[in-house]
Amino acid sequence: MTAPGAGAVLGVEVAEGLRGVIREPAALFFSVVVPVLFFTMFTALFGSMPSPNGLPVAASMLATFGAFGVVSVMQLNPGISVASDRESGWLRMKKVSAAPVWITIAGKVLAALPYALAVLAALTAVALAVVGPVIGVGPWLRLVVVLLLGSLPFACLGLAVGFLASANATTAILNAILFPMVIASGLWIPLEAMPAWVGGIAPFLPTYHLAQLALAQLTGAPAAAHVLVLLAATVVTGGLAGWAYRNLRV
């Protein structure tokens, strides 16, 4: 008697997650289309001007809107997906299989990554088309890597909610957390253009530190503090997700 190979099961889970989005893309529509639309508008207007940190606005916005797009996909997609699997009974069917449920959960996070990457690719394509090359390939790669890795605490938060709430409630709760957090972190409108008190809140938000970490890949600014905050956020949201998982009702 052997347990099924974890790798093979993970492959199935990721494939199922990817198919879900490809075949019914409506769920990811806003996560992908909203950041790309806003980004296009803003780069067309201000893209080649310099921003306060010295980079062209288009380069800065690649970091801030990139953070917004990646967080949006990673916070919403795995969480909502797990909530609807609970609601439909599919998670209950998988729970009586020989494959441990944590593989299902890991599969959902992994299956969301290509879509997060797709948002970044779309933003990059728009920046190239509208303004031309604004950053080198090396910094761009680092930007992509830190954004994807840094999305982990947001995925954990999404899962924590998705383990407990209905699919509709999960969508509502996660969006209600996402949008204020994104705006107050200066991901849509630069903090310099917002009231000073917003700038006071921003350092308490993990989205702010993710965007700053991404920007640091372009400016070379020190990044250790942002990494620490994101690690702490991962510990907290990972703990939350673990607690919610133990109270998982299927």
Partner: protein
């Protein structure tokens, strides 16, 4: 096919008590399914059948008692490699095709994805392979669930009302497929509200009522428990008047006819004919399993 590896029964549940909060669902149940044996779990809604199956699948944690699948704990993922389960409530992701669902089930059971082909053929749904699950009829979903349960070559099949929504032919084929697995050595525990199909496929019947086993035995033994006969007739009397006749135990409608069970059909008929001179289409039969069940459950209700 389900090979017996040791002397352990496919399923053994002993001294099971289970409650949801303060709602008791099982109150001291013992049950055993041997390899190559088919056991039908019967009983009215809320009797505790799904709860017992939930414990056997490892979905529910045992509160009191012990549950073992081939001597092993079903809460451990590796043990569930031995299980094939059709749950009462199905829920497939709408975006996946039948073939993808069954291939996924194969991999989750530790088998190659190619095993799906055989399972689809065994259940007779090869032509549905490329259909999205959202476009399946209820009966087709039920058969996909059976294919997913069989694809891992289980030693214990747990089927909770698996034939709901199947037409007559599909039902017969469904039980033939299950019986073939049983004959190849798999243990089967099933629940159904269609008592006749339990009588046809099961070697043993266990009747649950309000969380207790009120009767157990082969279908023939259960029927023999009751000396009852069933009297069916067309009558002008209302059902309640017939129920008040001497020696009438329980009364049910059978189309336009009335069906009465009785341990003394002669006495019943004398009184009935006296009360209704127009009595017609009269038939007296030994009780079937269904009537046996009705009477057993009613008695349990009276003595509870």
């Amino acid at each position: 096919m389900g090979v017996t590896r040791d002397g352990e029964p496919a399923l053994r549940a002993t001294g099971i008590e289970h409650a949801y909060g303060d709602v008791p669902a099982l109150r001291g149940v013992d049950l055993e399914v041997a390899p190559g044996e088919c056991v039908a779990l019967l009983g009215p809604n809320g009797a505790g059948k799904t709860t017992l199956i939930g414990l056997a699948t490892g979905l529910l944690a045992v509160q009191t008692g012990r549950v073992a699948v081939k001597g092993r704990d079903p809460r451990r993922a590796a043990t569930r490699r031995l299980l094939g389960v059709v749950q009462q409530q199905l829920g497939f992701p709408r975006t996946l095709t039948v073939a993808e669902l069954v291939r996924g089930a194969a991999v989750r059971a530790g088998r190659p994805a190619t095993a799906a082909l055989g399972a689809l053929a065994e259940v007779g749904i090869t032509e549905l392979a490329d259909r999205r699950s959202a476009k399946l009829s209820g009966g087709q979903q039920q058969r996909v669930a059976l294919a997913m349960a069989l694809v891992g070559d289980p030693q214990l099949l747990l089927l909770d009302e698996p034939t709901v929504g199947l037409d007559v032919t599909a039902r017969r084929e469904f039980w033939q497929t299950v019986a073939a697995r049983r004959d190849a050595g798999a243990g089967v525990l099933l629940t159904t509200h269609v008592v006749e199909e339990a009588a046809a496929v099961a070697d043993q019947v266990v009747v649950l009522h309000e969380g207790r086993v009120i009767a157990a035995g082969s279908p023939a033994e259960l029927i023999a428990l009751l000396p009852d006969r069933t009297v069916t007739a067309r009558t002008t009397l209302p059902a309640c008047a017939v129920a008040d006749l001497p020696a009438a135990l329980s009364v049910s409608n059978d189309g336009e006819l009335l069906r009465v069970s009785s341990t003394a059909p002669e006495e019943l008929l004398r009184a009935w004919l006296a009360a209704d001179p127009w009595l017609s289409d009269l038939r007296v039969e030994g009780a079937g399993l269904e009537q046996a069940l009705v009477v057993l459950t009613e008695r349990a209700g009276v003595f509870a």
